[in-house]
């Protein structure tokens, strides 16, 4: 007890010094590791869970019951019969095949395993993380919904940890453990594969194209668990861990299968819970960087996950789990979808209507956007963003200033920033630099620099790039906040006239949105609103001046517009190099450019980038990212600058020279581009020959 003199001014204040207040509560977040640090993990993991909510209309079933149901279901039976007729195989034989698929797929969820798993996990989490924050109000909402509705959990996916995390959180709050859709590559991880299966993971092949039996088993397996709502079903809309820490464009398959249950009125509504998981530091940061550069990914193994190099002894900061606002599928469909279109076929036969498919894709995107809204921005993301624009180093003092400025901007744009209010900015930043000391150092002159790559005996350019990509992945966590304003500042910044009419600006915005639509997430049909909203922010807080329906360029070009634009420059630059490469492809007969497989094009473009970097004609090593180049390629396809064709199952692409030339020019209007050397590539020898004609 403090003595009277040290006591606070007001006697009802218990802890006056903010430093004495524990970090257990923070805004709407609560640290669920806090208790675990002071009481028995064993007792916690074996405790009686009280008031676990169950779905009002649930019929209790074991994992085995579920599998039995699937095999007996009309959907599977129908396909078995059909395949039997087509292939001549006996129903019995095909049934065995289905059973094998089911065994490969099905989870074997049981509380025993979950308790063991919780016990084991909490130890790891305490070791790795300082805090795991969860917004309690979200949990409360989920608790209530689970009684009345089937619930889909759709978390963001940045790390393997995501798989374990939601189950852990649900265990902590006495919620039913979810069934989690996991990709097959996980299954081979012996111990983890087993543990996860027993904790609720079910495994889905990455591709099963036209394997009808697989489709039927998969669909029924997922749907029956939603209809009967045995437990919430969890899956990642992005389909895979995002290697870039930006949101990936969502995949629609799983959501389609899931909400078909609503379309076909097995249930009257489904609630979707977007969940945003934010890490201060991602376990796989390095792995990802090399993957992005095309160093083959090591096959997942338990060992790989906790690969030595002291993973367990590193500081990984905190995790924030934000349970987002539930989306009611039925409200979402109101007035758009007529479910009675399924009344003329037995429900186990027909697929989704065109409108329904559209809605699913729209909704997937909406879920990802909702996730983005609740990502918690770590100070380190802002530091990374500033460092990316000061590659040669920046003084701590300047860094603090810049970060504080950026923080204000992000905040104005609605981002939630994890910034301890009672700490001076410098302390916060120093703290961050410490956690990420593998990426940056502070030298004796108090200059913050990127650490030099240390891997010996290999391509130093790639190692440097890997470092850049790691740093970029943290900056990336900030990008969704700024992307819409940046799409406006880019044209403003690049404008050579005195004014830029809003119509022209919108046109450019639209172009950039389309171009960047694989790297960033936009809601289709929402371009106009996004534009206007972003413009409003710029005019209100960033000094952009609009007069007579035109932007006044001189007054509007300022620190804001420059910084925001520069954040996105590497992407445009990468695309531009890609375009140049595509334009330089030799043409076959009649000036028709040669078609090539997409993978080959990105790989070649990467080589061109490498060459340009070495020549120091460009300066952003992150443009070496195959992900970035591939996204560019997809976007070019979408705007018809390339056309696709299928040959032997592989996708080939060839430029549409007229469109592509225009696109290339348009990109060049927005950023500084080097003069392209004439380069020719030899893939076999992996060399780029730059013709001297500069």
């Amino acid at each position: 007890m403090d003595s009277i003199s040290e006591q606070s001014r007001n006697s009802w204040i218990r802890k006056d010094n903010p430093k004495h207040v524990s970090e257990r509560h923070k805004d709407m977040y609560e640290d669920i590791l806090d208790d675990r640090r002071s009481s028995s993990d064993l007792r916690w993991s074996t405790r009686t869970r009280e008031d676990v909510p169950t779905y009002r209309y649930n019929t209790p079933r074991t994992p085995v019951d579920i599998k039995k149901h699937v095999l007996k279901s009309k959907r599977v039976q129908y396909v078995l019969e059909k395949l039997s007729q087509e292939s001549g195989k006996s129903i019995a034989e095909l049934t065995t095949e289905a059973a094998v698929i089911l065994d490969e797929m099905g989870h074997n969820i049981n509380m025993g395993a979950i308790r063991g798993f919780a016990f084991f996990l909490v130890k790891i989490f305490k070791q790795l993380y300082n805090h795991i924050y969860v917004n309690e109000d979200g949990i409360q909402k989920v608790r209530n919904l689970l009684k009345d509705y089937p619930v889909l959990l759709m978390p963001s996916h940045r790390s393997y940890m995501d798989f374990l995390l939601i189950s852990f959180v649900f265990f902590h709050y006495d919620l039913p453990p979810p069934a989690i859709a996991a990709a097959m590559d996980f299954m081979s991880m012996n111990f983890f594969g087993w543990l996860l299966r027993n904790s609720g993971a079910f495994y889905i092949r990455r591709t099963f194209g036209d394997n009808e039996l697989y489709w039927a088993v998969f669909t029924e397996y997922v749907q029956t668990q939603i209809s009967n709502s045995d437990r919430p079903v969890e899956f990642f809309p992005e389909g895979t861990r995002s290697r870039t820490a930006k949101s990936y464009c969502p995949k629609f398959g799983m959501l389609s299968a899931a909400i078909e249950v609503y379309f076909k009125a097995n249930v009257s509504d489904i609630k979707i819970i977007p969940i945003s998981i934010s890490y201060s530091r991602i376990l796989e940061e390095q792995l990802y960087a090399y993957e992005l550069l095309g160093v083959p990914k090591p096959k997942e193994s338990t060992y790989g996950l906790f690969q030595a190099r002291g993973v367990l002894f590193n500081d990984y900061g905190s995790i924030h789990v934000h349970i987002g606002e539930p989306i009611s599928v039925s409200n979402y469909c109101e007035g758009v979808i007529d479910r009675s279109c399924h009344n003329l076929l037995p429900r186990f036969i027909g697929g989704l209507s065109f409108d329904e498919q559209n809605l699913v894709s729209q909704m997937s995107i909406q879920v990802v956007l909702n996730q983005q809204r609740h990502f918690v921005i770590n100070p380190w993301s802002m530091i990374a963003a500033v460092l990316m624009q000061n590659k040669d180093g920046i003084s701590v003092k300047q860094l603090v200033k810049e970060v504080e400025w950026l923080k204000r901007q992000a905040s104005n744009l609605g981002a939630y920033i994890d910034w301890p209010g009672h700490e001076p900015a410098e302390t916060v930043i120093q703290e961050s630099l410490k956690i990420h000391k593998n990426l940056v150092t502070v030298n004796s002159m108090d200059i913050v620099e990127m650490r030099q790559a240390e891997r010996k005996g290999s391509d130093s350019l790639m190692d440097t790039a890997a470092h850049h990509l790691m740093l970029a992945s943290y900056r990336n966590q900030l990008m969704h906040v700024f992307v819409r304003v940046a799409l406006i500042t880019l044209p403003i910044n690049a404008c050579t006239q005195d004014t830029l009419s809003l119509d022209d600006l919108f046109e450019k915005y639209t172009f950039l949105e389309k171009l960047l639509s694989r790297d960033f997430i936009f809601l289709p049909g929402n371009t106009r609103q996004d534009f206007e909203q972003a413009l409003l922010v710029l005019t209100h807080t960033c000094g952009v001046a609009v007069q007579d329906k035109a932007v006044q360029i001189k007054t509007s070009t300022n620190k804001y517009t420059v910084f925001f634009s520069h954040m996105f420059e590497p992407f445009l630059l990468g695309y531009w190099v890609l375009c140049q490469h595509l334009l330089s492809l030799p043409s076959i007969a009649h000036d028709k450019p040669m078609a090539k497989p997409a993978k080959m094009i990105t790989k070649e473009a990467q080589m061109v980038v490498a060459r340009l970097l070495r020549e120091q004609l460009i300066k952003h090593p992150e443009t070496l990212s195959l992900d970035l180049l591939n996204n560019g390629l997809m976007a070019l396809c979408n705007i018809n600058a390339l056309h696709k064709e299928k040959r032997d199952g592989a996708v080939y692409m060839a430029p549409n020279t007229v469109v592509l030339t225009k696109v290339t020019e348009s990109i060049a209007q927005h950023i500084e581009v080097p003069t392209m050397p004439m380069a020719s590539i030899n893939v076999d020898t992996k060399t780029v020959v730059v013709n001297a004609k500069l």
């Binding site: 209309y57 009345d148 009125a265 509504d269 009344n343 429900r347």
Partner: protein, 587 residues
Amino acid sequence: MEQEAPTIPKRRQELLKWNGWGYKDSKFIVNKAGQVEFTGERYRLSKQVLPHLKDFMMKTCGISLEHKITAQPEITAADIPPPIKNKEFISNLRRTGISYSDDCQDRLFRAHGHTLHEVFVLREGKFERIPDLVVWPTCHNDVVKIVELACQYNAMLIPFGGGTSVSGALECPTAEQRMIISVDTSLMNKILWIDDQNLTVCAESGIIGQDLERRLAEKGYCTGHEPDSMEFSSLGGWVATRASGMKKNIYGNIEDLLVHVKFVTPKGVLEKNCQVPRISAGPDIHHLILGSEGTLGIVTEATLKIRPLPQCKKYGSVVFPTFEDGVHCLREVAKQRCAPASIRLMDNEQFQFGHALKPESSSIFASFLDGIKKLYITKLKGFDPEKLCVATLLFEGTKEEVAALEKRVYEIASKFRGLPGGADNGERGYMLTFVIAYIRDLAFEYYIVAESFETSVPWDRVIDLCRNVKHRIHQECKEKGVQWPPYTTCRVTQTYDAGACVYFYFAYNYRGVSNPVQTYEEIEGKARDEILSNGGSISHHHGVGKVRKKWLRNTIGDVGVGALKALKAYIDPKNIFGNRNLLIGNL
């Protein structure tokens, strides 16, 4: 055959409630002891005290005896719009000798059916538009004259049978500028002949169900058509709405019973020239008449099939642990085509409602759930009283037939974990459907609005539909700020080869809700949306009228609507039958 005055007199208001359901002398009241009691002496429940009903209503709907609302005493002439008078029509009508009236109570009585909306208006509001004149034809030829006059002098006609419509079909279009004449068929109540060789009866369209069955019974016959409204609804009304009777499994629905029909239209009389069991003569013109809801003409006479009265009539019931078990059992019964005259599956909520209707002291109402059996079922067999549900059965036929069928049905039931639950439970189930309309009037007084709606649905979607619709209603109530959870219940009330008819009741306590009827209608609208999304239909037997028009185009498609409109344009180009039911009336 001998003439007989109709049970319901010309001045209906002298026998029937003007602002509620049924006979004036029969109603639920809360007696001095604070118990619910049913008055009168017409029904088996009459003069009985129902000690559980009040608690049931308090528990399920949150009523309290202190919060009571009284209906307006009457709608006076001042509140009734003055009649529009088509002088030529009236003077020509006078010459025909057909009786008519423009008395405001006579007109008001024929301005409505029995939807929640209509009854609520009677209790609390006023109608914007009511018929300007009521006419009472006494035979087919009277109707022909009335229709001719209406065509000649451009007056609008609305056929009126028993006034039990629950689709808004009888409501007058507010925009109608012409004189509206309600053609009350109640004096056309003669049985014209009975043919015991072909087993048919020909009657005038105004005869009401109870009179028809009673008088056929005197001769040893019945039609077996027993809609729950049979005390009041008429032969013509059944044809015009495609009605369905409780015992359709043996006797068929109205379309199965109908052998011949006479239909007076502005273009002339529409009828077939023969009375045959089946015909292939192009699209069946009977099906233009069935379900026409007063938009094309007036049914004046109809020939129905009849059957000898059954020797034996027996109630029964089966208790199932869950609703799903019950549905599977009914499906199996339908599959084996061994359904008794009636088989209905009530969900748990309705089963409990049935129990709340148990009178105080009456051995005939003793129930299996009392005493030992209750223990047996709930404890030994693991039936959860909050989940179990009951199928009510009605067997008809010879003693042997009934015995054989009983055996078979109970055997099937046992495969679905069903246990015989005794005759009383069955009987009480049927009683509930007869008195429910009376109970609604009591509920009104305690801030409860209630209504029923129904649908038909393929077997594979019955369970999902029942659950989803009830759930949807609960959610909509929550969203609309209804303070107490609503009471929703359903029963599978008819079975067919390919599906079933499902009947819902929905009631909620509207204290704190500013516009209860509109809120109710919005919620019922959502429920109907849910029904259609669940593979259900716009209606199994209540019809479209005005309240379900919104879903008709989706149901029958543009071509369907277009064809009906073309039909209307040919038969009734001047829109004499301008009640605007279905989408045909929208000319």
